[in-house]
C-alpha cells in the first residue's frame, strides 16, 4: 500500500522508516507550505483550528501524490483533535478523494481496535510479527535520537558565531539519522550528529536569555506552523527549551520531566485535569520554567484552541505570582512571519531589560 501520515516536525524521518520497513511504499508528506494551508483552508470549517487545516491540506497533497492510506491519531477528548479524523474523513468524502484514514485511538481506551489497526498495517505489508516488533523498536529509537539532536541544536544556536551554522549542522545530523537502519547505526549516527553540532563555531562568552516554549502540541512541534520560532529565537541569541517532545514520556533530562506530576503543579491554579490538549500542562510548565530561573515563556496556540484559552486566562495570575513574563501567540492562517518576529523581538528586549535591571540591583546590594 502507499501510506502517508501527518507531518509533525522532524518526526517524519522516523515514520518514513517505519512505513518503508513494514513492506509498504511511503508517500513522505511535504513540509506544510502556503499551498498546504490554502488547500486546507478551502475545505475546512472556518473555525477549525490551524492544525486541522494544515492536516487536511497535507492529506490533499499526499492524495495527489498517490497515497492510498493515511495513518493518524484519534483521541478521547475533550480536545477537538480526537475528532479530527472523523471530520477529515467526512470532508475527503465530500470532495471525492479516495483515501482511507486509519486512526489509532488511545490503546487504553480501546485496545482491540488498536491491535486490529496495527495488524492491518503489518499484514498489509506482509511481514511477520517478530519483524514488525523489531521495526517498531527501531522507529522508537529513531524518534528519540531525532529529539536528542534537535534539543541540542536549540541549546547551541544562541552561541553560534555564524548565523545559520547550527541549522545546517542539524540537517547534516538528521540526514545521517535518516540513513541509519539498525539500533547500532542509529547510535552511531546520534553520536556523530551530536559531535557535529558541538563543533559549531561558538562564542562561549555570551549569556543568552532563556525562554520556555509551551502550548498546543502541533504548533509547538511543527516549525512550519509556528514560523520556525525556535530557530528565530535562537538566531536572536535566545536559548529555548521546549516543553513537548514526542519522546518526552520516556526521558528524564528535560526540564518538564524533572519534577513531579505536572497536573499537581498546576493544581493551585487549575483544580481540574485533564482539560484536553496541553491546557493543564501549559499552566504547570509556566510554573516550572519560573522555578528554574527562565527569563520568560512563550505560549503557542492555534486560534480558538479551547484548552489553551483556558490556560491563557489563568496564566496572568502565575505571571504575577512568580514574576515571569509570558507572551501568548495565537496562530491562524493570517499570522505572518514578520508579525511574529516583531513581537518576539519586543518580548526579548523586554526580558533583556528586566535581566539587566535585576543584575544592576544585585550589584547595588553587593
Amino acid at each position: 500500500m502507499k501510506i502517508s501520515f501527518p507531518h509533525m516536525g522532524y518526526s517524519y524521518i522516523a515514520f518514513k522508516w517505519l512505513v518503508e520497513n513494514s513492506g509498504h511504499e511511503c508517500i513522505v508528506p511535504p513540509e506544510p507550505s502556503k499551498r498546504t494551508l490554502d488547500l486546507g483552508v478551502r475545505y475546512a470549517p472556518e473555525f477549525a483550528c490551524i492544525p486541522f487545516k494544515i492536516l487536511l491540506g497535507t492529506y490533499l497533497e499526499v492524495a495527489e501524490m498517490g497515497a492510498e492510506v493515511i495513518l493518524t491519531s484519534g483521541g478521547m477528548g475533550p480536545c477537538r483533535a480526537g475528532y479530527y479524523w472523523v471530520m477529515h474523513k467526512y470532508l475527503l468524502e465530500e470532495i471525492k478523494k479516495d483515501v482511507k484514514i486509519v486512526a489509532f485511538e488511545p490503546p487504553l481506551c480501546n485496545l482491540r481496535d488498536f491491535i486490529q489497526k496495527l495488524h492491518f498495517v503489518r499484514a498489509g505489508g506482509g511481514i511477520s510479527v517478530k519483524e514488525f516488533t523489531r521495526v517498531l523498536k527501531i522507529t522508537w529509537e529513531k524518534i528519540k535520537a531525532i529529539d536528542d539532536i534537535e534539543m541540542l541544536s536549540h541549546r547551541i544556536r544562541p552561541y553560534e558565531v555564524k548565523r545559520g551554522d547550527t541549522t545546517r549542522s542539524l540537517w547534516q545530523a538528521l540526514d545521517m539519522l535518516d540513513q541509519a537502519n539498525s539500533i547500532a547505526e542509529i547510535e552511531d549516527a546520534r553520536n556523530e550528529g551530536l559531535k557535529i553540532l558541538q563543533n559549531v563555531n561558538m562564542d562561549k562568552e555570551r549569556k543568552p536569555l532563556k525562554i520556555g516554549i509551551i502550548g498546543e502540541i502541533y504548533v509547538v512541534l511543527e516549525p512550519a506552523a509556528n514560523h520556525y520560532i525556535q530557530i528565530m529565537l535562537g538566531e536572536m541569541g535566545v536559548e529555548t527549551d521546549r516543553s513537548i517532545y514526542l519522546s518526552a514520556y520516556t526521558r528524564n533530562n528535560t526540564i518538564v520531566n524533572l519534577e513531579e506530576d505536572i497536573h499537581q503543579i498546576a493544581r493551585p491554579y487549575l483544580n481540574e485535569a485533564p482539560i484536553g490538549g496541553h491546557g493543564v500542562n501549559s499552566i504547570g510548565e509556566t510554573v516550572l520554567y519560573a522555578r528554574h530561573g527562565f527569563d520568560g515563556v512563550v505560549q503557542l496556540a492555534p486560534f480558538a484552541c479551547i484548552p489553551e484559552i483556558v490556560a491563557k486566562s489563568i496564566i496572568p495570575s502565575i505571571s504575577r505570582d512568580l514574576d515571569i513574563p509570558v507572551l501568548t501567540l495565537f496562530i491562524d492562517e493570517q499570522t505572518g512571519k514578520a508579525g511574529v518576529q516583531t513581537r518576539l523581538e519586543a518580548f526579548v528586549d523586554l526580558l533583556q531589560k528586566k535581566r539587566d535591571t535585576r543584575i544592576g540591583a544585585e550589584r547595588l546590594v553587593v
Binding site: P45, E46, F47, A48, C49, F52, G74, M76, G77, P78, C79, R80, G82, Y83, V86, M87, K89, Y90, L91, E94, E105, P106, C109, N110, Y269, L270, N271, E272, I275, G276, G277, G279, F303, A304, C305, I306, P307, I309, V310, A311, K312, S313, I314, P316, S317, F330
Partner: protein, 334 residues
Amino acid sequence: MARIGIPRTLAYFIYYPFWKVFFTELGHEVIRSSPTTRDIMDKGVKEAVNDACIPIKIYHGHVADLIGKVDYIFCPRLVSVRKHGDFGTETFCPKFLGLPDMVRLGIKNLPALLDIRIDLKKGKEELKNICLELGQTLGNKSTDILKAMQKSVKAQKDYEKYLNREMFPEEAMDMVLNHHENHNGRKTIPEFTIAVVGYPYTIYDPYINVGLLKILEKENVKVVTQDMVSDRELNRMAKTLPKSLFWYFSNRAVYGALHFLKRKVDGIIHVTAFACGPDSLVDRLMEIETHRRSEIPYISIMIDEQTGEAGIKTRIEAFIDMLRYRREGDKCEN
C-alpha cells in the same frame, strides 16, 4: 441561611429547577442574575479573557452582576453528567472544565464560590455525595440534605417531562417551581415546523441570539429544540455516527438534528457562537449529515458581541421565504 447566586446562563437552562429546589429546601435563598442585558455583556467582555467565546464572556458578566447581592456564587465544575461516548468519556467543553478557575482568577472582589466538581459518570452514588458535600459546606444536616435532594430530583424529572412536552425552559420552570398552569396553547396552525438546535445557552437566551425564537414565532413557525426530545430517542442517534463527540451539549445538539431529520421537519437552524471550538466540527458535521440523509434545508446562524437584530431577522426571513418557494415548487410539480 445564605444567599446563593446562580448565573442565568450556560447550564442554567437545563439544571436550574434542581438547584433552586435543593437550596430552597435547605432554607437558603436563591438569587438569579438578571436576564442577559447589554450591561451584563459589557461587564463580561471586560472581565473575561479576550479569546473566549461569547457565552463564556456573558457568564463572567452574570457573575459580576451577582457581586454584592449574594454570599455565595454557585459555579459548579461540570465534568460529566453520564457515561456516554465511544470510550465512556463524554465530558463538557474544556472551558466548562476550567470555568471556576477562570472566574476565580479573572474577577476581583468575588464572594465565595461553590465550585463543586460534578462528575456523575463515576456512579449512582455520586449525586448524593455532591449534594452532601454542598449542603455541609452551607452548614446543613445530612438528613435534611438527602430529603432536599429527593425533592430536587423529582423537580428535575418534572421539568424534563415538561420540556419533552415541547415547552420552552422558562415556561417549564414556571410550571415546576410556581405550579402555574399557564399553558396557553397555540391558536393558529403553524405554517412550518423548524428545528432550532444548538446549546441551551445560545438558543434560549433572547439577548444572545437577539430574539431568534420570537422572530420565528412571529413568522408563525413552530419551534422544536433538542431538549424537547427524550434522552432515549436522542441516544439512539449516536449509533448512526462513526464516532460520537466528546461534549455533552454538542452531542445533544447533533443527535437532536439527526432526530429531526428523521421526523421530517421543514428546516433546521443551527445556532452557534463565534469561535466556538466544538461547534467548528459540530456545524460541518450537521451540515454534511443533513445533505446526506435528507433534502431538508439547513442554515447556521452565528452570533457574537456584534450581532444585530436586523441581520438575524433578514436571514431568518430569507430562510422562511425559501421554505415557501420550495413548498410551492413541490405543489407545481405534483
